[in-house]
Symmetry: D2
Subunit: 404 residues, 4 copies
């Protein structure tokens, strides 16, 4: 087995173990949506044994690991199945949370939370978005984290906290305001809150386009005067915005690559579907409009893939900051590409496309949601424009002649 | 009350009774999805008393009724709420089924099925689409309706039979093949099958983008050697295709107008949302991109509305056949317009847009599904192209000079 | 002849006289682009005799005339040929200038300029846009019109003054600032400037996408201390903005309808082209992608047509102000629709489509330019959004409950 | 100077020599469009001296040269100015013609035609497209090349032969049918025809969107029983299709990169334009819609660039055949991307955008034409779809399970 490359081993695992488990996994959830089906724990065990575990972890502090560029295609492969990332302990938001703890966590925090997360024994959530404000602007965040002696008191309401429904979810990383008087981007902090702390209440689990995404779910969580010791703060007061930004770099590459995998699956499904389906006397595969969908989808996917791999390389070379421009681009490109490609596949499938027998509608809903998660398209486009405009201004100010 | 115009009375009813009932209706369904919440029966009673009942019924055979042009704007108003059409006994597929029975049913069939449908005492479904073939091409249909003495024996599998999950659904109108040797469009017949006939089995209720659309639902139905008396056939053997086509004319106008109503609601929601929401220091209502969405949505809606009203007028003047071209256009225009408009509204809402608190995601899913129901966009576009091409050929053949 | 309807007579005239003259007209221009080919004067004479002259003139002050709704389809027919509007004395900017003179001109101004314009003996231009500012915002206009005793002195630079190259162009209506201290929309005035006044210099004639649109042309005009008597002002000082706005109402309907005619011709050309053209073993008319272009073009045209006719009806009922919303919509819809439709036709024609043998590329260039002329799309969309937002605000302020 | 990298030297040359020459070059053409302005010969001399000459030439047969991947970014830089490629002796169709002669020409052909082409002393054209058939399907080509003793007789009509108007154009490479009975792709041959051979007549020079692209031009050429010796055939009878295909590989990369350069220039122009332009009280650079255009343009360009560079790498590794898929993609992606980006810039410029003072409209027209040249988008998309469909079929045939 060690003769294979990592991508080959992963693909083989997907075909041997993941795809055949998708329907049993969904079946098992029918009776109780907020338990973990046994098949998931079995698959996790197999993935560990196959050496396909925590592949997302970067080389850090002497530990081995894959670069973003190396991990990216693996991440795409995992993205083909909504259930796959958890099997490989590579699912959001745990990956981002593990990175935060790895880079900024205290030894105590790492011991208590990072280790079991890396072992896949517990899950976590990330509580940033709030229902009452436009959270894409982090300075809108209202949840308060107030020091009271050796404790912090947390009060606020969060939603779209993915993973909050998971029966193994033990801890939330919460973003809140520690100092409303500080400069705009130093007001926020991240703090670790065990889910069983008094005052923490998952009020409900949200649906996105009708999907509850069980057993992880998207929680609306009330923090009602929740008290945690001051050692629960990560890195330090006022570092929340910086960590959240840093956290988003690899996270956005992961999201983009998973979407590329989802789009690849949709394209495969579409092409195979039309091979033998006939309407009005001709196989769908011979019909020009469908052929154009196929070609355009391939083009869309390839462009998004190359851009994301390029972003991963930039990231490996210079970190999140150096890759900011490319990461902003893929944040917009990938979900838009995926919704387009999957939508075409749905159309090619007819009624089956929107229904429960093929994964297309669920993949679409997830891709559509990612045009909003971590900031809507428009925020990222505006940031890109700002960079272009600033560059032009500087170019001209430095004496470069105007473009003729 | 009779001082108001019909459109005003309907709008008032929507605001007074329907919108406030939406959440209670959904709440009531949480414990049991396939019962009819009491609030629905209350609302139906009120609608009857308010004279807002069966408004879809055309003037026919001496009975009064509204023209398509008159009914169209009312239908748009109903389309603003997914629960509204049933309240007014104007929901698909019952409306189409009632029309079929009104025009082609025998007195006995009308007595047994049309009357209780018109009274809103029972519901019905229409079983045409099949899972194994591209049903947009009616000649692909495989369900067999075989005569056996004074009975017909029906065998086949249907899906996306909307209404099949409704606890009051008592009868299906089934399309099947009575004579495979007949000319292509005379092979199919429509037949009435009581849902409690032995051999009829609603195998499952489908979800569309995660929504089960309870309590109506979309059924996958097995007809396993189902026997009905030969009096159950409507109009006669071989008339199925003709009736299905005729049935689709007003049905498509209804769908288009409901989609326009849904888009109107989405636009209202979007505009009101951005009035007081702020991001990056400026109200969303002042941000150019969102303003462009609003303007473009208004333009999209107005064009679709005018085209649909024009189709309704054509229909009133010359029937389904005369309006075929216009009906083909709105079949494509309306769901595409509605998905675009609603998608913009979702984006303007951020996370809330895809979630359960606003009706946008559900409206979107329903509009998207209508790009497939009754034939995918591509089939209708192709038909329109055929008409244009034929017209050009005839123009030139008749001696008209080529366009210079 | 009077047995025919006006639309029939116009179409017959187009086929008998206009289309066959298009190539001779272009040929004649090859040797001298800024003369009027004889064929044009012949055609004008014929059009007069056929009673197809000045059809754009509205009923006014006791004179007969066509309503906007009646004229609109005639205008579409004329729009099929770039040379046609002048033949019928219905070409921009003369039509708008004639309307301004008709409604606001003094008897002396009408005698001197309106009468020869109505007779087609002279042509005119409208000098509003300026090269140095974003002229879509009229308050940016800088050309000065300064009173000096019984004269006005005009100083400024205008461009895109359509018609300024025409050998018969005798007069310009110039917009300039008479009182920079007045309220924003009362600073501007319109003034009549004979083209042979000292200081008026047509510096050059512009090309749009390589087309010079001879013999009318688009002029860049210098007004260098140009002196005219004070009787040359139209209506009065400070009325320029109001007249320009009023002038634009019918003008935009005309532009929209002409674009619809241009799109109709493009669609006719496309459909006829593909009837007998073969590639890869199949007639183009059988190829799905091209069929979809045809169908989508028909849909696009019909929607734009219905919206423009609706705007014309609104205008007839309540004037420019009442129709402001609809006129804003068609200002955006028509050129975008036309560029889409014509672009598809170009693609279907292959190399011939971009070349000089079919009118497609020239029609496209003209349609594209109209996404900018009289204000770019974005200005009109923003205005539409403002209206929607204001309406929502007022609705809520008046106690209407928020959309649920 | 040799301290600089090649890309830096080229950019410097563009800024120092090319951009300042654009207007003088156009001015000089005004009096006589079909001469070569002196400035061009000056610039060519300078380019030679600067070592920026024939950069397109690949390493071949012991000669040095740049790989496609190395040349690609240089080609993009050249694409920023329509006049630049000729300055560097890197303009189509000469580059492709030189490659054909380099790879397949006899020593005599190389001596007579390749050497002066490489020296920039003569120009050439490529005569493939025909007016009467859909030439994207090479089997439609009708021009006959008939052997008659030791001569060939060429009869046919070609158009869109770029370069045919150039006063230095001395030779055409003509595609025609030598053996109509051979297998479909072995019927065609390429043959060298001196432009002064009796029977060769450039009947006219075509405009594309009103541009004549002087002094190169696009010719319609009659070959009326043109006789050339049989040594004029390249490689051999029946090799025409193969050479044309091979020729197109690098040519399409060049076209794509030049379009990327054109789009880059358009984006630079757009961004600089909006920096200081104000409308309705706010700088255009602050207006959200324009910022979205800027960001989306950057994204579009980056994706096209990465895809084209990827194609160039594939080409360097495995030749045209190995890169066929990628080359098909960029053939579609690049002109569509460029027309979108340039169109946005035009809109941002207002009236100036469509006029002669900025290069946008001309760049757009050229990009639009490239959606048709060398085969329309649809042919390439169809080919891509065929490859995807074949791959799926083979995957399933080899026992791979269907995508679940």
């Amino acid at each position: 087995m060690t003769l294979y490359t990592l991508p080959e081993r992963l693909s083989e695992f997907m075909e041997t173990h993941i795809y055949p488990s998708e329907k049993p996994f969904q079946e098992a959830l029918k009776s109780n949506r907020w338990q973990v089906p046994e098949v998931m724990e079995d698959l996790k065990q197999r993935a560990k044994e196959a050496g396909l575990w925590n592949l997302f972890l970067p080389p850090y502090n002497g530990n081995p690991g894959l670069t973003n560029r190396e991990y990216a295609p693996l991440c795409a492969t995992m993205g083909r199945s909504p259930m796959a990332p958890e099997v490989f302990n590579c699912s959001a938001p745990d990956t981002g949370n593990m990175e935060v703890l790895l880079y900024y966590g205290s030894p105590e925090q790492q011991e208590r939370w990072l280790r079991p997360l890396q072992d896949g024994v517990i899950r976590s959530c990330f509580a940033m978005t709030e229902p009452d404000v436009a959270s894409s602007d982090a300075t809108n965040i209202r949840t308060a984290i107030q020091r009271d002696g050796h404790e912090y008191v947390i009060t606020g309401r969060k939603w779209w906290s993915t993973g909050a429904g998971h029966p193994n979810c033990r801890v939330a990383i919460v973003m809140g305001v520690t100092n409303p008087e500080a400069p705009r981007h130093e007001r926020q902090s991240l703090i670790l809150v065990p889910m069983d702390t008094p005052g923490v209440r998952v009020e409900r689990l949200l649906t996105a386009f009708g999907y509850d995404d069980a057993p992880s779910g998207h929680g609306e969580i009330i923090f009602d005067h929740v008290r945690v010791p001051d050692s629960a703060i990560i890195w330090g007061e006022g570092k929340g915005f910086a960590m959240a930004q840093g956290r988003l770099g690899p996270g956005r590459i992961h999201h983009a690559m998973r979407l590329i995998g989802a789009a690849e699956r949709a394209l495969d499904l579409m092409v195979e579907r039309v091979l033998d389906r006939t309407a009005f006397g001709r196989p769908l595969a011979d019909q020009g409009v469908i052929r154009q969908w196929i070609a355009q989808s391939r083009i869309d996917i390839e462009q998004a893939r190359l851009l994301t791999l390029h972003a991963a390389e930039q990231m490996d070379r210079g970190g999140s900051k150096a890759a900011r421009r490319e990461i902003g681009m893929i944040k917009v490109v990938a979900p838009n590409m995926a919704t387009r490609v999957i939508d075409r596949a749905i159309q090619a499938f007819g009624g089956a496309g929107v229904g429960p027998d093929v994964p297309l509608a669920a993949l679409w809903a997830s891709a559509r949601t990612l045009r909003l998660a971590d900031g809507p398209d428009e925020v990222h486009l505006d940031q890109l424009a700002r960079d272009e405009i600033r560059a032009a201004r500087e170019r001209l100010a430095s004496g470069h002649p105007p473009t003729p």
